[in-house]
Amino acid sequence: MKDMAPDSPLLRVEGLGIGFGARRGRIALRITEGVSFDIARGERVGLVGESGCGKTITGLSLMRLLPGNARIEGRILLDGEDLAKASPPRMRKIRGKRIAMIFQEPMSALDPVFTIGAQIGEALTLHETVTRAECRERVVEMLAAVGIPAPEKRHDEYPHQLSGGMRQRAMIAMALICKPELIVADEPTTALDVTIQAQIMDLLRDLSERTGTALLFITHDLGVVAETCTRMITMYAGQVVEDAPVDAALTRPRHPYTSGLLRSLPQLNRARGEFAFIAGRVPSPAAMPAGCRFRSRCELAGPGCEAPQTLERVEEGRLARCHRAPDLDLPGAVA
């Protein structure tokens, strides 16, 4: 490792801006701006926010998997090494080995014409030198570890022969086979049945705890974040608006947007019998307001909000992008 302090974060994202359609080096359409956060070793971080706020592209950018017309600025430091500047061959050594990814659609994320075992084994042989027999043994072990029954048999089956939940387990096995330091899971359960969703989330948390793999968990489901994660990052319109330990964020949010999100959740507020929706619409990336991006929808907007907001420390271990955050006492969810 580099000359870093032992307690330095596994991943440090600094001022990450992602845009599309670059011409002559300039980004035509900016989607995220100044996204910064840290992920410590073994930490489980939930990344939440409304649809379109840039969660998926942020996750993809960590592995440099964005489409060809995307441009990134800022730094993505993995153990101090800037992935934003890493060469393609260097990135291929990191993908699947040090950072792995689990996608939303287990139905379409596996190659239909290769067996489950071949696809998982491919990741292993790519990053480690193993014999065929060792490879098979490790893959079968991994399939068993993610709770796939009859792993020997499943090893030689094709994706279409597995149920959605089993396929997502196979995806998790593929992500874990090289013992990565970080797993980015982008809505890994959205496409699954509710009962299966809970099983998969338990599995992910369990594996993360056992193997010490850090998890960046992208979701709309704050309930799952509450159960799975240790920290929650809220994004709004391409910016991080709040970053806090999960319990604190859920019970005493410091940003009006996080508070709005929590109050609009039926399952967390059933006890209270009320749920509000955040009025208005997310500004389009093509027409971002200059000041606070949430201002037009914020009940508490007032003087000072027309100035650009910065992500500031509110208290120990908590950040919020709102100049009023220190004085606000916002309702959260009763979990």
């Binding site: 291929r92 996608f103 379409s108 596996l110 290769f114």
Partner: protein
């Protein structure tokens, strides 16, 4: 080797082939009879009297109703007797055994060339989709698809056989006698036949690859850390192998038809020269025999392709 489903499919395909064979030979027979003149005129020789011609017609049964003549031929064919050439007297099955391997050799050679050249071109175009290499391959293959085979064959004969004698202009040694010579002599006709096939393979491969490379599971492959080359050649090609198989089996059918004229240009003793000659001289048993051989070949090729589909795509095998 074959499982229950495959065996049943095989049976069904064989049964389905019967009406196809009857229809093909019957329509060819009828078309042939629509031509003016018949073999009796040829056989009777120049200046023969009308009586002599009639005698010969009766001798060969050509005065019988058409359906009876056709029925007679079918009855023989069912028993494995394709009858004889009216002109040379050679058994049609002997003629086929002599000329058909030559045609198959050229067709196989042409398909091989089309695939060996078309696949890399298609992969190159797909991997640089939208770039100049892609555009170049696509323009090139549009031209290739449009060029008539026989015209190319004529150009090749002129340019590489007559003008610069790199290859023989005419003639053919069967591959069973001298494989090297056969390859040598078949090169120009095979290239002429392969040009449009190569273009077709490149185009179809490019479009199906571009589509499949966009699919979700290819992002998973990148996320594993696979190199673009491995993604393209291993997963890309494997994912479009079914499309490729369809293109190739269609290509076999088309090349088999196209070889008829190309063989004539190069004076190769294959089924092409045989069927053209037999048609001009109204030697209908020979024409029927050649048509039968071609249709059977097409049916067998399609059947093999259908069997291979389930090997290439595990999802098909399930159904």
């Amino acid at each position: 080797m074959l499982n229950q489903v495959q065996r049943r499919m095989l049976m069904r395909r064989v049964l389905q082939a019967i009406p196809v064979l009857i229809l093909a030979t019957f329509s060819v027979f009828m078309l042939l009879k629509m031509l003016p003149g018949d073999v009796a005129i040829t056989l009777a020789g120049e200046n023969a009297t009308q009586e002599r011609i009639e005698e010969i017609r009766t001798l060969y049964g050509l005065d019988r109703p058409l359906l009876v003549q056709y029925g007679d031929w079918v009855w023989g064919a069912v028993q494995g007797d394709l009858s004889k050439s009216l002109l040379s007297g050679e058994a049609v099955s002997d003629t086929l055994a002599r000329v058909f391997p030559n045609t198959l050799f050229i067709v196989a050679y042409a398909i091989l060339l089309a695939v060996l050249a078309g696949v890399p071109l298609g992969v190159l175009a797909a991997s640089r989709a939208g770039g100049w290499a892609d555009k170049l391959v696509m323009v090139f293959s549009s031209v290739g698809v449009a060029l008539p085979n026989f015209w190319l064959a004529m150009i090749f004969v002129g340019a590489f056989a007559l003008n610069r004698q790199w290859f023989p202009a005419t003639g053919f040694t069967p591959a069973s006698e001298d494989f090297g010579a056969a390859v040598w002599q078949a090169t120009l006709p095979a290239v002429a036949l392969a040009a449009s096939g190569m273009a077709e393979v490149a185009r179809q491969l490019r479009s199906s690859l571009v589509e499949v490379l966009e699919s979700q599971h290819f992002r998973t492959l990148h996320a594993k850390g696979l190199s673009p080359r491995a993604i393209l050649w291993k997963h890309g090609l494997r994912n479009v192998s079914v499309n490729l198989l369809t293109v190739i089996s269609l290509l076999v059918n088309r090349t088999l038809a196209a070889t008829v004229v190309v063989e004539v240009v190069f004076a190769i003793p294959g089924i092409g020269a045989t069927i053209v000659d037999a048609t001009l001289r109204r030697d209908f048993p020979v024409v029927q025999g050649v048509v039968l051989a071609m249709v059977v070949t097409v049916i067998v090729v399609n059947l093999i392709a259908d069997m291979l589909y389930s090997v290439l795509d595990p999802r098909i095998a399930q159904r």
